[in-house]
Structures are given as structure tokens and as C-alpha cells.
């Protein structure tokens, strides 16, 4: 028996000059773990916060530099960029746009994580997650001012996974990225300082359902691999276009992968985890999850279905139409009945996933010489607008408090406008942006997504979306009416004054929401500059 000839080995080419924003984030996360290991407890907080903000800021600067010199892709009129790391990652217009938005939003989220004044000089995360709620050990941990600074490296790992997820150009990288972004989030959800039972329950639910959905995603990958014989999206695209082999394998694989991705964007009927997890998780984590996970997951969804399965779009479009309609209806209608502000915002995020899916199901990719906005570009803009408003809205939620921590029950928000007009006004502004009132970012976002879907011929979907926008506007307005036109019940909540960290986060998100609504031109141009995916 002789061994087969070993093929000549050529070492892979890694384009470090394009990938370094990603590597910075992962590197800083690893350094954060070492900080936890070797620095004394009282110095960790400051070092971790500075490290995280600098790391994310550095990665953001790097992303801008990378974006500035993306070359036009060979043989393509609209796409700029290249497929790097031997086909594992594609650094193209949409990737760098998503990276930029993700990094900006995660800097704001890290500022919310670091907020200490609201809890009286300590972060809103469990002092000692291993100590049982209500025990002596837990009380000691909190009187001694112990806090888990591991949240910062965990968040950095999650950001790294989120950056890799929409950039992944082969399905295996995509799966690994999915897990890298999910696992830290499962842990972060369970680390609330107050209401720990609810927080732990949210973590268990998120974890079990997340693992369940990623198993479906993985089996979908296996079937698609069985169909195409490769993991790269370009190879899958070739196989799909040539219609090699049995279509059943492809359809089943596509469906199972869609389950995993739609779970992450919290589209109905895979949305059941969203309200529970958004309500139970620490509010700063909810802000981070609601904005960044959705952006990353939509990036990946678009890339897989436009690049990999573009040739089979007549097979998956009907499915996406149905999912989009169910998602919009469930999100908008069920939100009407909510009595908890975080749960209501969770259903609002489900409704937004539905509106985004309208743009996606419209599949309008433009043609050469077309100057309007395509599905991909409109979704990128919508995600930007939605992300900033979401982080801002949850930041406001952390400030409305009573003796038991955050006062999230809606009845506690009654009359807030009389007590603190500024805060209630800012929150109302975010709600109007969610509702898509003209002169806010949400309006431009909805307008561009719906018009792209209309150009793609999905006009029935657009009609449903407009009707559902009206329904959704109703429950946003209900909260505004509650805040400004009803009297406080009993003592009412207090509005805590946060430190500069949350202040900056709110100020930036308000500014972004105003600018995106009033002068959306530059960001729309940027989204259009993003062009399309490289293949």
C-alpha cells in the first residue's frame, strides 16, 4: 500500500491590509481576557472600558480607511471590493458599510455597558454571577462593589462575530461567526444585577432556542454542501445556476438555512424568543442585541440569498413574502397589547424586521445605468436608521427608574412628560422615528425600502407594509399620549441623571436620527456607494 502523492503546498494569502479592523476587534477581546487575568480588581473597570472604546474606535477608523480604497471588482459594474482570505471573507461595499455602522453602534453600546451612576456607582451587571440571587454571598458581592468586567471582552467577541457574520463568503465561516456572536450574547443576557431570575430565564430561553435554530442552520449548510459540493457562495451560485443534481436537496437546505437566519433577525414565526429575551436581559445588552445582531444577521441573510441562492430566487421569494407579511402583522398587532416598555420595543423590533424583509423579498438589484436605490442599499440605510434609534430608545429606558431598578411597566410611564419634558420628548422622538413620521430617519428608511420593493414588483407586499406601518404608528402614539396627556399614578418613577457615558450615547443617537431624517443625502449616497456584493 503506497500513500498517494502529497500535493505541493502553497501557503494561503491573507489580505491583512483589508482584514485588520476585524483582527483589531478580536485582538482587543483577547487582550481584555488577559486584563481580567492579571490586573487587580479595582483597576479592571477603567482599563477594560478604555480598551474596548479604543479598540472599537481603532477598528472604525480602519474600516473607513479600508472603505476608502476598495477597488472595483473584476468583471462587475456595481461591486467594489475583493474576496479575501482564500475565499473565506469578502471585503466589499456592503461589508464595510455594515462594519462601520456596527462599530459605531457598539461604541455607543459599550458606553451604556459602562454606565455606573444609575446603579449608585456600579455597573448594571451582576456582581458575581455565580452567587445565588437573594443569598448572603450576593449581598456581600454587591456591598463590596464587585462587578463583572468580563462583560467588555464578551461584548468585543460578540462584535467580532457580528463583523465576520455578514462578511463571510463561505458557509462554514458563516456558521462559526454565528456562534462567535451568539455565545457571548447568551451569557450577557443572564448577567443583570437586578431581577436576576428574569435575567437568567431570558438567558436559558435565548440559549436553548438559539442553539436549536443554529442546529437547523447547520443542517441546512450540510444539505447545501451536499447539493453543491462546496461551501463558497460563488461555487453554490454556479451549482444553483447550472441546476446540477437534485433540486430537493437545495430546497430543503435553503429552507433550513433560512430558519437559522430568520431566527437571528427575529422574523415571525421564529420570533418567540425576542420579547422574553429583550425584557429579561440587562437593558444595555438589549440595546446592543436589538441593534447590532439585527444588522449583522440581515447582512448575512442578504449575502447568502442574493449571492449564493440568487439563481433560485423564484423558489425562495414566495416563502419570504409570506414570512415578511406574518412578521409585520405579528409585530405590529401584538405590540398593541403590551404593558411592558421593553416588551413593546421588542415587538416593535419584530415589526421592523418585517419591514426590512419587504425590501429583501422585493429583490430589486437594479441594472447597469440605474441610479435609483436597490433592495440591498435601501436595507443598509434602514438598518442604520433603526440601529441608532434603537440604542437611543433603550438608553432612555435605563434612566426611568423607581426603587426596584428600571420602571419598565407602561403604567409607570404615565405623566412622564410633565415630570421630565426633555427625556419624554427625546423618547417620543425615537418612537416617532420608529413609526416613520416624516422628518425622521424612520420615514426615509421606510420610504427607500418600500420603493425598492415596489421597483422589484412586490407591490402587494408594499401595500400590506403601509397598512401595518399605520397600525404600528398607533401603539407608538399610544405611549406618547400616555407620557404627555395622562397623570402620574401614585408616586411615579424618578428620572435618574446618568453619567456622561449614557448622556453621550443619547446625544449621538438623537443627532443621528435627526440628521438621517432631515439630510439623509450623504448616508443614502454612502449606502449607494456600497454598490452590491462581490461574487
Amino acid at each position: 500500500m503506497t500513500l498517494p502523492m502529497q500535493p505541493e503546498f502553497t501557503s494561503p494569502v491573507i489580505e491583512y491590509s483589508r482584514l485588520y479592523p476585524l483582527l483589531i476587534v478580536f485582538g482587543v477581546a483577547a487582550v481584555g481576557v488577559l486584563v481580567e487575568a492579571f490586573l487587580p480588581r479595582d483597576r479592571r473597570y477603567l482599563v477594560q472600558v478604555v480598551l474596548a472604546v479604543l479598540g472599537l474606535g481603532g477598528a472604525l477608523a480602519g474600516t473607513i480607511l479600508v472603505a476608502a480604497d476598495l477597488d472595483v471588482a473584476a468583471g462587475d459594474l456595481t461591486a467594489r471590493g475583493l474576496v479575501a482570505a482564500e475565499g473565506a471573507v469578502s471585503i466589499d461595499g456592503p461589508t464595510v458599510f455594515i462594519w462601520g455602522v456596527l462599530l459605531a453602534l457598539s461604541i455607543l453600546s459599550v458606553l451604556l455597558f459602562a454606565e455606573r451612576r444609575l446603579e449608585g456607582g456600579i455597573t448594571a451587571f451582576a456582581g458575581q454571577a455565580a452567587a445565588l440571587p437573594g443569598t448572603e454571598a450576593e449581598r456581600q458581592a454587591s456591598t463590596r462593589g464587585i462587578e463583572h468586567t468580563e462583560i467588555f471582552p464578551l461584548a468585543m467577541f460578540a462584535v467580532g462575530g457580528m463583523m465576520l457574520f455578514p462578511a463571510a463568503n463561505d458557509l462554514l465561516t458563516m456558521f462559526v461567526a454565528l456562534e462567535v456572536l451568539s455565545l457571548p450574547l447568551y451569557l450577557l443576557c443572564g448577567l443583570a444585577r437586578r431581577r436576576r431570575l428574569i435575567s437568567q430565564e431570558a438567558a436559558v430561553k435565548y440559549f436553548l432556542l438559539g442553539a436549536f435554530s443554529s442546529a437547523f442552520f447547520l443542517y441546512g449548510i450540510a444539505l447545501v454542501y451536499g447539493y453543491a459540493g462546496t461551501f463558497t457562495l460563488a461555487g453554490i451560485d454556479r451549482a444553483v445556476t447550472d441546476r446540477v443534481g437534485g433540486q430537493n436537496l437545495l430546497l430543503a437546505g435553503m429552507g433550513l438555512m433560512a430558519v437559522g437566519l430568520l431566527f437571528k433577525v427575529s422574523a415571525a414565526p421564529f420570533h418567540a424568543w425576542t420579547p422574553d429575551v429583550y425584557q429579561g436581559a440587562p437593558t444595555a445588552v438589549t440595546a446592543f442585541m436589538a441593534s447590532c445582531t439585527k444588522i449583522a444577521a440581515f447582512g448575512a441573510l442578504l449575502r447568502v440569498f442574493f449571492v449564493g441562492f440568487g439563481g433560485a430566487q423564484w423558489d425562495w421569494r414566495p416563502m419570504m413574502w409570506i414570512v415578511a407579511i406574518i412578521t409585520m402583522v405579528v409585530g405590529s398587532v401584538v405590540a398593541l397589547t403590551q404593558t411592558d416598555i421593553k416588551r413593546m420595543l421588542a415587538y416593535s423590533s419584530i415589526a421592523h424586521a418585517g419591514f426590512l424583509l419587504v425590501g429583501f423579498a422585493g429583490v430589486f438589484e437594479g441594472s447597469s445605468g440605474y441610479t435609483g436605490i436597490t433592495s440591498l442599499q435601501s436595507i443598509l440605510f434602514y438598518l442604520t436608521a433603526y440601529g441608532f434609534a434603537t440604542v437611543g430608545a433603550f438608553a432612555i429606558v435605563t434612566m426611568v427608574r423607581d426603587a426596584g431598578g428600571e420602571a419598565t411597566h407602561l403604567s409607570r410611564w404615565a405623566g412622564l412628560g410633565k415630570r421630565s419634558p426633555l427625556l419624554a420628548g427625546v423618547f417620543a422622538f425615537f418612537l416617532l422615528a420608529f413609526a416613520g413620521i416624516p422628518m425622521t430617519s424612520g420615514f426615509i428608511g421606510k420610504w427607500s425600502v418600500f420603493s425598492a420593493a415596489w421597483s422589484g414588483g412586490a407591490w402587494p407586499l408594499v401595500v400590506v407594509a403601509v397598512v401595518m406601518s399605520v397600525v404600528a404608528a398607533f401603539f407608538y402614539v399610544r405611549v406618547i399620549v400616555l407620557m404627555f396627556f395622562s397623570d402620574p399614578v401614585g408616586e411615579g418613577p424618578t428620572v435618574a441623571v446618568p453619567s456622561a457615558l449614557t448622556g453621550i450615547a443619547v446625544a449621538v443617537t438623537v443627532a443621528a436620527t435627526v440628521v438621517l431624517g432631515v439630510v439623509p443625502g450623504p448616508v443614502l449616497d454612502l449606502a449607494q456607494e456600497a454598490g452590491s456584493f462581490v461574487r
Binding site: 440571587p133 462559526v176 431570558a202 436559558v204 436553548l208 449548510i221 450540510a222 444539505l223 459540493g229
Partner: protein, 99 residues
């Protein structure tokens, strides 16, 4: 040798796992069912690697194993902490969050 028996076994294991997640009540058992689904996927990966005559699927199986291990560590930590709080690992008992 035909690949069909292996793929059938893989699909069966995956289905058993999925049904297990839906009907079992103990969080640990639910989680074991998820692991069964991942291992069923591994079987599909190596079978397809054999069918296509390339190594991609086998490498994928390695990655899935490592990811599954990381998931075990994270998941059992979460389940243990809620068990220690509530003295129960039933997914029905965790019901503070609803509607």
C-alpha cells in the same frame, strides 16, 4: 457503497433530536437533543464529503465539534446557574416571562 443509508440515518437522528427539543421538559435533556442534531449534521457532512470526493465536509465536522463543545460550556453554565437558583431544570418552571 451508496450514501443513502448514511444520509437516512443522519436525517433520522436530526429528527429525533428536533422532536426531543420540542417535547422534553428538562433543560439538560433538551440541550442533549440539540447536541444530537449537531452530531447528525456531522454525519451528513462526512457523508457528503465522501460523495463529492473533497475534504471540505470533514473539516466542517471538526469545526462543528469545537463549536458544539463551546456551546456545551456556555449552555451548561447558564442551565446550572438557573438550576441552582430555582432547584429545578424544567423548562416549564421558568415562566416569569410571558405574553
Amino acid at each position: 457503497m451508496s450514501a443513502t443509508p448514511f444520509l437516512t440515518l443522519s436525517a433520522l437522528l436530526f429528527t429525533i433530536g428536533a422532536v426531543g427539543v420540542l417535547v422534553r421538559r428538562n433543560a439538560i435533556v433538551v440541550f442533549m437533543c440539540v447536541e444530537l442534531m449537531l452530531n447528525a449534521t456531522n454525519l451528513a457532512f462526512v457523508t457528503f464529503a465522501r460523495v463529492h470526493g473533497n475534504l471540505d465536509g470533514q473539516i466542517a465536522a471538526f469545526f462543528v465539534m469545537v463549536v458544539a463543545a463551546a456551546e456545551v460550556v456556555v449552555g451548561l453554565a447558564i442551565i446550572t446557574s438557573i438550576f441552582r437558583t430555582r432547584r429545578s431544570a424544567s423548562v416549564d418552571d421558568a415562566s416569569l416571562l410571558k405574553y
